[in-house]
């Protein structure tokens, strides 16, 4: 399901680079006990961006994914009331073999981070990957995802992506 990591590393020699964005500003209502803060797009984006995308990198690869806009806030759709989350992620180049791993890591990160009531859909941004449909179908199949996470080699790779490493 996932190619060897280093196979991806130098495929994308000239990626588009973006500057890192700032942290969410705290507002007074964030600290008000009585205000209910709905789970929103930015919150999900931050979970992925701060705790996942930043960690997926490799010493051999020139740039970290955070600079590559793999996940963008406007490709996150949350509906707290309906308990749904939709994410579109953008593999950096159309035939990037890491797409499934990135997608799986996003899915696992959200499964671990969101209340169980949420239905989580992870897709590739339309038109950005050669085998978009195949990857989307794999990510949507919870039986395959469950089996993948019982595969210790794969789980190890995913966990490494999910480990918060200090720079």
């Amino acid at each position: 399901m996932v190619g060897h990591k280093s196979a991806f590393m130098l495929e994308n020699a000239n990626p588009l680079i973006f500057q890192r964005s700032g942290a969410r500003l705290l507002t007074s209502s964030d600290e008000d006990e009585d205000v209910h803060d709905p789970i929103d797009d930015r919150e999900i984006f931050d979970i992925l961006y701060l705790h996942l995308i930043r960690s997926i990198n490799d010493p051999e690869h020139p740039l970290s994914l955070e600079e590559l806009n793999v996940v963008e806030q406007d490709r996150v759709q949350v509906n707290d009331a309906d308990s749904t989350v939709g994410i579109e992620f953008t593999p950096t180049i159309p035939h990037c073999s890491m797409a499934t791993l990135i997608g799986l890591s996003i899915k696992v990160k959200l499964l671990r981070s969101l209340p169980h009531r949420f239905k989580i859909d992870v897709h590739i941004t339309p038109g950005t990957h050669a085998s978009e449909d195949a990857v989307n179908k794999q990510l949507a199949d919870k039986e395959r995802v469950a089996a993948a996470l019982e595969n210790s080699q794969l789980l190890e790779v995913v966990n490494q992506c999910l480990s918060t490493k200090s720079p």
């Binding site: 949507a140 039986e143 469950a146």
Partner: protein
């Protein structure tokens, strides 16, 4: 919707894990469940409520995806992501693991007994369906490996009376197999779903089959020449769309009432009833009862009690099993 589904009981069957499947034994005295905790649990009614009678723990190294009772009720087969199928034998109140069937390359997704009890079918992510023969000494032998699907095979089911097998797959298709000249062959490929087909069920007469899919629909298929030789001709006679909000994971046709029930990834359980006045070639099904939050997470499986009409078990990703009573026209 005049009918209703009434919750009878709800219990946590696989704590901290998901419950993938529940199965009634033929006499409906026991319920077997399995899940992500690698365990199989056997439940029985004590007084007014269902209690765990035993836990079968050491058979599998990974998730147990499916359990199936033999028609005699003495044996229990379990299919696991660890690529094996275990056969358990009931001895008094205990179960012992008789044998482990190996051969699939990776996750076994489903196991099912033929009505005769002499044949067993399994399917796997390795795209194959295996048929096993059982002899009097409880020895199992693989009689055939069929590779008709191009992707994972999610489900296999036997015809209620004939030696006829159907399978559903990630390749969006359903295949139907028969034995011919000592060999099992695919006699029909049912195309129509636009995504993974998760489950199949035959109607009580065996003339029709219902399938459910990731495309959020249920389809009813009918065969004209089921007993004849040669290729079969199955036709989709009805599609139920617009009812389900997400993937439909399981479907079951009640042998006693003819009602059809589905388990859905939108947490709902739905019962459909057939309008008996309609043209048999254009059957009409209507939603008779619907519990939208039957569980707090995906519903993975639904199973009609084989003895008590209307009693239904369901299980969910949250590890729970729920029992429901389907009451027709309860006015």
């Amino acid at each position: 919707m005049k009918d209703a589904l009434v919750l009878v009981e709800r219990f946590n069957a696989h704590p901290d894990s998901r419950c993938w499947h529940v199965a009634w034994n033929p006499t409906a005295t026991l319920l077997a469940s399995c899940g992500g905790d690698r365990a199989i649990r056997i439940w029985g009614k004590e007084g007014d409520s269902w209690k765990c009678l035993s836990v079968l723990q050491d058979g599998h190294q990974r998730t147990v995806r499916r359990v199936a009772w033999s028609p005699c009720g003495t044996y229990l087969a379990s299919a696991s992501f660890d690529a094996t199928t275990c056969i358990w034998k009931k001895k008094n109140d205990d179960f012992e693991c008789l044998t482990t069937l190996e051969g699939h390359e990776n996750e076994v997704k489903c196991v099912t007994w033929a009505p005769s009890g002499n044949l067993l079918a399994t399917c796997s992510r390795d795209k194959s369906v295996w048929v096993w023969e059982v002899d009097e000494e409880d020895e199992y032998e693989c009689v055939t490996v069929i590779n008709s699907h191009t992707q994972d095979v999610k489900h296999v089911v036997w015809h209620p009376t004939l030696e006829l097998l159907a399978s559903a797959s990630y390749d969006n298709n359903i295949c139907v197999y028969k034995e011919e000249d000592d060999d099992w062959e695919c006699k029909a490929t049912l195309e129509g779903h636009t995504s993974t087909v998760w489950s199949l069920t035959f109607d009580p007469s065996g003339q029709r089959m219902a399938s459910c899919s990731d495309d959020r629909t249920v389809k009813i298929w009918k065969c004209q020449n089921i007993e004849g030789p040669g290729d079969m001709s199955w036709k989709c006679v009805c599609t139920l769309s617009g009812f389900h909000g997400r993937t439909v994971y399981d479907i079951a046709w009640c042998r006693l009432t003819g009602a059809l029930v589905t388990a859905c990834g939108d947490d709902g359980v739905r019962v459909f009833k057939e309008d008996l006045a309609a043209d048999p070639d254009q059957p009409v099904f209507s939603l008779a009862a619907h519990v939208s939050k039957a569980h707090s997470q995906d519903v993975n499986c639904v199973a009609w009690n084989p003895k008590e009409a209307g009693l239904l078990a369901s299980c969910s990703d949250n590890g729970e099993i729920a029992l429901w009573r389907y009451q027709e026209d309860h006015e």
